[in-house]
Symmetry: D3
Subunit: 287 residues, 6 copies
Amino acid sequence: MTPLLPPDQSAQTLIQALPYIREFSGKTIVVKYGGNAMIDEGLKRAVMTDIVLMRYVGINPILVHGGGPEVSEAMRRMGKEPAFIGGLRVTDEETMEIVEMVLAGKTNKNIVAHLNREGGKAVGLSGKDANLLVAQKDTRRGDIGFVGRITDVDPGIIHTLTAAGYIPVISSVAIGSDGESFNVNADTAAGALAAALGATKLILMTDVEGLYRDFNDKASLLSEMTTGEVDAMIASGAADKGMIPKLEACLDALDGGVERAHIIDGRRPHALLIEVFTDSGIGTMIR
Amino acid sequence: MTPLLPPDQSAQTLIQALPYIREFSGKTIVVKYGGNAMIDEGLKRAVMTDIVLMRYVGINPILVHGGGPEVSEAMRRMGKEPAFIGGLRVTDEETMEIVEMVLAGKTNKNIVAHLNREGGKAVGLSGKDANLLVAQKDTRRGDIGFVGRITDVDPGIIHTLTAAGYIPVISSVAIGSDGESFNVNADTAAGALAAALGATKLILMTDVEGLYRDFNDKASLLSEMTTGEVDAMIASGAADKGMIPKLEACLDALDGGVERAHIIDGRRPHALLIEVFTDSGIGTMIR
Amino acid sequence: MTPLLPPDQSAQTLIQALPYIREFSGKTIVVKYGGNAMIDEGLKRAVMTDIVLMRYVGINPILVHGGGPEVSEAMRRMGKEPAFIGGLRVTDEETMEIVEMVLAGKTNKNIVAHLNREGGKAVGLSGKDANLLVAQKDTRRGDIGFVGRITDVDPGIIHTLTAAGYIPVISSVAIGSDGESFNVNADTAAGALAAALGATKLILMTDVEGLYRDFNDKASLLSEMTTGEVDAMIASGAADKGMIPKLEACLDALDGGVERAHIIDGRRPHALLIEVFTDSGIGTMIR
Amino acid sequence: MTPLLPPDQSAQTLIQALPYIREFSGKTIVVKYGGNAMIDEGLKRAVMTDIVLMRYVGINPILVHGGGPEVSEAMRRMGKEPAFIGGLRVTDEETMEIVEMVLAGKTNKNIVAHLNREGGKAVGLSGKDANLLVAQKDTRRGDIGFVGRITDVDPGIIHTLTAAGYIPVISSVAIGSDGESFNVNADTAAGALAAALGATKLILMTDVEGLYRDFNDKASLLSEMTTGEVDAMIASGAADKGMIPKLEACLDALDGGVERAHIIDGRRPHALLIEVFTDSGIGTMIR
Amino acid sequence: MTPLLPPDQSAQTLIQALPYIREFSGKTIVVKYGGNAMIDEGLKRAVMTDIVLMRYVGINPILVHGGGPEVSEAMRRMGKEPAFIGGLRVTDEETMEIVEMVLAGKTNKNIVAHLNREGGKAVGLSGKDANLLVAQKDTRRGDIGFVGRITDVDPGIIHTLTAAGYIPVISSVAIGSDGESFNVNADTAAGALAAALGATKLILMTDVEGLYRDFNDKASLLSEMTTGEVDAMIASGAADKGMIPKLEACLDALDGGVERAHIIDGRRPHALLIEVFTDSGIGTMIR
Amino acid sequence: MTPLLPPDQSAQTLIQALPYIREFSGKTIVVKYGGNAMIDEGLKRAVMTDIVLMRYVGINPILVHGGGPEVSEAMRRMGKEPAFIGGLRVTDEETMEIVEMVLAGKTNKNIVAHLNREGGKAVGLSGKDANLLVAQKDTRRGDIGFVGRITDVDPGIIHTLTAAGYIPVISSVAIGSDGESFNVNADTAAGALAAALGATKLILMTDVEGLYRDFNDKASLLSEMTTGEVDAMIASGAADKGMIPKLEACLDALDGGVERAHIIDGRRPHALLIEVFTDSGIGTMIR
């Protein structure tokens, strides 16, 4: 536990957050939660308090999560070896069942319990609930099974929950037209939700500091980019492969009316609060 | 598919349901869904349409489910042999994780998807969501791990959802004071919810016709009992062991203000509709 | 009393109505009630239960009625011989007073009492109440007295009543600019109301099976027509004279945004339910 | 038309009404409308403007009416001679039908049309609408047919209408448990409604100046009485026979929580306004 | 105290006001209160009752006031001599402080107390409250200190207050971008508010009868003018200098959507009521 | 300007405030603002930001202020020498006028402008507005003029304003039964308001550290007292004279249902935030 600041400095700090509280009061912020911040217990707790605090100061935070490592671990326990093609999990029917059990039954409820313990009122959903995320088979990289592309978002249930003070936590599973489940990328889901909700911000928590002009030069971190620059980075091949779905999620969100998208370093404790409530923007902001 | 009735007879049948529609319009009915009706695809679909119809005619149906067989199967796939003491599953930490994944991640979302396909707007919850079901360790039969006894119900999220037209589907997992998960009996959870919601009816779907005066004499089916008679049946040892948690759930609900509790035969297609919308009460009604 | 179906078939029948309940839930359906269905006690009771059922499953039914035979009978009892020109009642001041007394004071309240007995909450109105139907003298067939042409509909009172769960029952009397009463055609009034309310359906109950391609060939019943075909039928003179105001009411309603208009056979018990809740559309549907 | 006052005096007069407008703003006043004020065209128009004005200054006026003379006239036109026993109309089935047609179909709608012409939004009801007035046979004076005694008032529809700005106009017809109609005394109906609505005032419009200590001495007009004094007046036989139902209506209303009951002289133009908005209480006030 | 009219004439007078009550019910009327009507105790009380009466009959009156003479008197008591340039008060910082104390602390609260005594629920505001009136330095006549030109009106607080039944009373002080106070012309403020509120009428109370075609010929009073005529009057120099800000306030209001602007003679008791509730429009109406 | 903390520490500080934000979210806190915190520009700005922050995190802060020094200064500028008897200002009519002008017209609007500049939506009121504070002459210390004792609080306007997001700022002037103004003690007014509003906390800002067991021993500061101990302190004469009205205000508030009353040191920057949002309670808490 961090030693307490003297009370006068604490008060001063609260006051420095006031302009940001004012700015985001009543606004919706969609956070893709993932990476180390989901594994390290200390980081996890920090994220949970950050989210609860955001809710108490009048912001509507929406949490979206995947959970790759936990899925792979559960698969192995069930005697199945995970396989990936082009970064996407090969998802046969049995794998899809495991994905859904892990994401909606374990990871999701675990996050919910943590938020409630910090004083939030969280409700966990998958994209199947109230047809929140509708998808169809993603065949862009051939047939790799129940991997889905989001075709529709019905944000009604999110509005119902946030109006009543709840914090929605959404696992990246979508529903198909025959009621089947699809595994969807959590960054993409977060971007689609942010657009459908008219969110003010989309924040993707990653395990990198942000985007670099030159990936090999850690000193070339970009604190701000335009959508044009992101397009160019993707087109030029300069973007890291693993970063591409995140960049596309940001572009989709901005294209759908979201004001700003952020790629932040989830390894830093309270990265969310620092991004939202201080002058020190962190990571890369795209607009 | 059942052959269609001539339209005039169809109309006549609708009219015969009118007094029941009038009676239950605006009321809450908690249904414990389980047994064969959860396994047989035809029965399952019948239950789903029954629930959606209830919602459309102005009733607030609440579905509570367990999922024992699916849990045992998943355990075996993960190389764990299920064990039971006095009918309760021995639930170590790893088992609890599997219980929760299966109930909240697979069974629950499967029911939700089915309801939505029939035109409902279903939302799946576990007892962890919004602290709906709070439990502590049940030590009445010694320490058998994460088996819980419900100590508190916070029905706020259910009111939020039903007021907005959603059908809540609740898996029988509760939250402990340290955020840990507890496996709770689904009949008991349904009874506790019915009481907390001020429900009009509690309906437990089983794989028997109802209660018998003499368990060995199928002709002694009891269509109606008082709580006093149920107390006596339990005290005398005449009640079937597996039936006792169901009877206790009924007594708790009635004690908590629910008007009527029903033990019905889920093996009969549309048993719910028959119970709610026709003269032919089925199974055993307790009041 | 029709013998009861076995409960399983009853349940099946309710389920078959579900898609229709879903479709019309929250929608407004204007029904012109008249003919034999208003005279025969059995048919009358069937219509009343049909209307109450519609209300309970979430539909807003609006009933509009005339009452020619009762008016003529009352006139004769008062020593006045009814007279008609071109199908329209010659309506001097004294006749108008009788028309209004019979429609608003007898027929209307009789329907209201029947609906309330079946469990509805009905409220009877004439077009004078809250200036619901405003008319001016209809001189298209010369001066035949207080026969009116509707010039304005103020649906405010209908919205107030349906929002509070009431079933409005409206007699076909309108108000003139000097507060005088006008006798208006009930089919026309129903059509005008359906348009003003943005109703989904207009249903005219008649004493015929529907429209025939050839009026003398009962086998030529048309189950569906377009507005163009109806226009043509009127222009060609093929339409039965008594049917023309009904057809015009349908065209006016469709023109005003109503989705479908139906001419159904009120002599068939529960014709309304059959039309609304079964696959077997009956009579003629115009769109 | 009364000559206009100079504008300064008009303003002064409005100001003198202010304390009364303040006092009754948001309150309910039930007015039994009858006698000469219902026959004389000038008086009638004055009552209508008074009622509309009351509504515009924030009062909820409720009008209740009978219509004896019009009923008798209609009966004679239909060849039936009116008969009375103890002041109550002998009401066989045919008479009841005529009573209802005249009151609900003619008198009621006529009042509604007048109020609407003065700028009100009036809605006419009989006691059958929404089961507003429920009655059973009144056998206190032997069997004189469909004369009813009010046993229940369901004021729901009145609250719906007044909340939406409408002026309810109610004819003195009640509904029996089998849906049959009953002729009820309009003063009694007004008193029962005033109690059920928690009205502030009940005002009975009559053709006398008020109550007299000595009926033969016009100088003995009583401007104020207590309920005890009214009880005594009835017990002593000093009360005029025709006045007794009015006095009983007042006592019932006061007993039911109404603050004041007034018997006023409807022959005086704008008697309502004078009673409600000026210092000059007129007639007899009972409390 | 004016002698009371006979009650029948009082009633008649109320009725004559009914068409005006109907017309303005629910509408907003902005009144600039000033001149003799603010000094003479009898006139003052008459204005207060007029405003309270307007509120009780469903109008939303908004009162705007300045208070020049009281300011000058307070300045002299504090040893400062008032100075004016082109009709505008030279307003150094100390003067501004006195202006604000007198208007917002004395005049405003005095009006509020008077309205409350007459039964109103008044709330006093200055343009600083909730940033109601925002201004910047008016340099059109050189630098004469804290004299402001209104640049923005935020009517939110007015809507909050009127929806809850309060009568807003607003002193003519505005706020600058650095939180400093500005002295603004009360007529101008009233016009700007009327436009921002979508008022139906703007009424300026003055110490003249109205506008004259020829200022020296009292017989040339104009009862009605168009905005074009007012423009011409200003352009031609025919308008009295002191009248120009009033005329401009009227033009601004009409330009902003207000239906009618009135310049009335506040020296006449109840001039407001006479203008609003009688046939005798007084003063000059511009549209 | 305090140097900024490193962002990580800022985030940590925000998190440490979370339990307090949770606790007071939706609660009402009445703050008596006075002393040095009202004079020193730095302290003033700190208080304003503290109040705005409280509002943004969901608390309803209500500010009550007096303004003695400014009143005395204005009196002297008008050539009147302030006089006091037993700590109360001798308040003749002219003095009362100055008190009101200064408090309601200068101090109040100045606070409002400051709050709005920090992003609040503040509305200034005196006790005269909407009859918020009603008083009668306080004769407990003889006749010292328009010094009042609060007899009634009508908190309606406060509820209207806080529900719409406004911050009410109230000057300590009350209204008498004849509309006259009374000078009331601001601490007392704050206590009475806290009780009438069912506030959670009353906080009195003073120029002392809190209460001392022994006034001469600065080391004997009491961090917590019970109402019994406060009663005893007053009875024993140990309480500082100037402190007595503050202690009585606290007792009145606690007696009226307020949970805690605090006497804090307004000379410390952000004393409000420190008290409300940190572990370090400051000053003396009474319960």
